[in-house]
């Protein structure tokens, strides 16, 4: 991927929303799966699919605790995820600056 290419893992509406939402949390904080679902407005199935793609890329971390009905999945942005989102935003700004109004 060159400097002028947008990261394809992030460059999808749902995953971009997920990354930006998680990035608003201070480093070291997590968001539960259900709260994330409320904020993003995705079905559970769609949310887990996008989270797995981001997880595979090393951009998010998912930690499950408890079991059965008490199971809670905590999602957080990794350091690599923050760096990738910063790089994506910088590339996007460069591309927007190059586009006439």
């Amino acid at each position: 991927m060159t400097d002028d290419e947008l990261d394809p893992v992030i460059h999808a509406p749902a995953r971009l929303r997920l990354m930006v939402t998680l990035a608003t949390l201070p480093e070291g904080d997590t968001l539960s799966f259900t709260r994330l679902q409320d904020l993003i407005g995705l079905t559970p199935g769609n949310l887990i699919t996008h989270l797995r793609k981001l997880d595979d890329a090393g951009y998010v971390q998912m930690d499950k605790s408890g079991s059965g009905v008490n199971a809670v999945t905590a999602v957080s942005l990794t350091r690599d995820g923050r760096v990738a989102l910063d790089r994506y935003s910088a590339t996007l700004r460069r591309l927007l600056d190059g586009v006439p109004e």
Binding site: L6, H11, A12, P13, A14, L16, R17, V20, T21, A23, T24, L25, P26, E27, G28, D29, T30, L31, S32, F33, T34, R35, L36, Q37, D38, L39, L42, T43, P44, G45, N46, L47, I48, T49, H50, K53, A71, T73, A74, S76, S89, L92, L95, L96, V99
Partner: protein, 218 residues
């Protein structure tokens, strides 16, 4: 719910869509604004509730003592009024923080718990020290100044320290303002201290409430 998600995962498409760069920029802006709005703990309602506690509560105590010559102590009813107003403000704080931090874990959660614990222990310490000062023969005038200003000094210190940990300069400024108000208000005397603090602390929290409201609207 997460188990359901896994069950029907196979049936759900990836959901990737074509997206141009203008749309991406809009999504970033909207998602960031929404997350900040939904997850913020700096809520105008909290600061407004505490502004009311000090403007009305401390203001009522000032009205009840400013005619005392010589000064003896605020009436129990006025003190009880402050505690009732503080209980309402605490309930507002707990409700708002509970809603905005629902599902948020990690370092911030730990910092919040420690902050509440420091406030509770600190306030207990303020009360115990007031008792010790009384037992050591401190006059009602000295106890009056201490009773009004010491809790504000404590709140200011906790505010400034927790704001420093989160690099929140607005909250730090309020903390510094509260410390300055607590320290200087004593010069107004045992009756005047309540009036000065009612205005200074009430205005400080009201200003922070206005700043928080402006941030939401922008």
């Amino acid at each position: 719910m997460e188990e359901d998600a896994r069950r029907d995962e196979q049936m759900i498409t990836d959901g990737d869509q074509e997206m141009d760069i203008q749309q991406a920029a809009r999504i970033i802006e909207q998602a960031r604004a929404k997350a900040r709005h939904e997850l913020r703990t700096m809520h105008p309602a909290i600061y407004l509730a505490w502004a009311v506690v000090y403007l009305i509560g401390y203001g009522a105590i000032w009205l009840s003592v400013h005619g005392q010559h010589p000064y003896h102590a605020p009436p129990a009813g006025a003190i009880l009024g402050v505690f009732l107003l503080a209980a309402v403000a605490l309930a507002v704080t707990a409700a708002v923080v509970g809603r905005t931090t629902s599902g948020v874990g990690g370092a911030s959660e730990g910092r919040r718990r420690i902050t509440y614990l420091v406030l509770a222990i600190g306030y207990l310490g303020v009360l115990v020290l007031e008792g010790a000062l009384g037992q050591a023969g401190a006059s009602q005038r000295v106890l009056g100044i201490y009773g009004a200003a010491a809790p504000i000094l404590l709140i200011g210190l906790v505010f400034a320290a927790s704001a420093a940990a989160g690099m929140d300069w607005t909250a730090f400024c309020l903390g510094a303002w509260l410390i300055a108000a607590a320290a200087l208000s004593g010069f107004a005397g045992p009756a005047g201290v309540w009036g000065v603090l009612a205005l200074a602390v009430g205005a400080g929290f009201a200003a922070l409430s206005a700043i928080a409201m402006r941030r939401i609207r922008s």
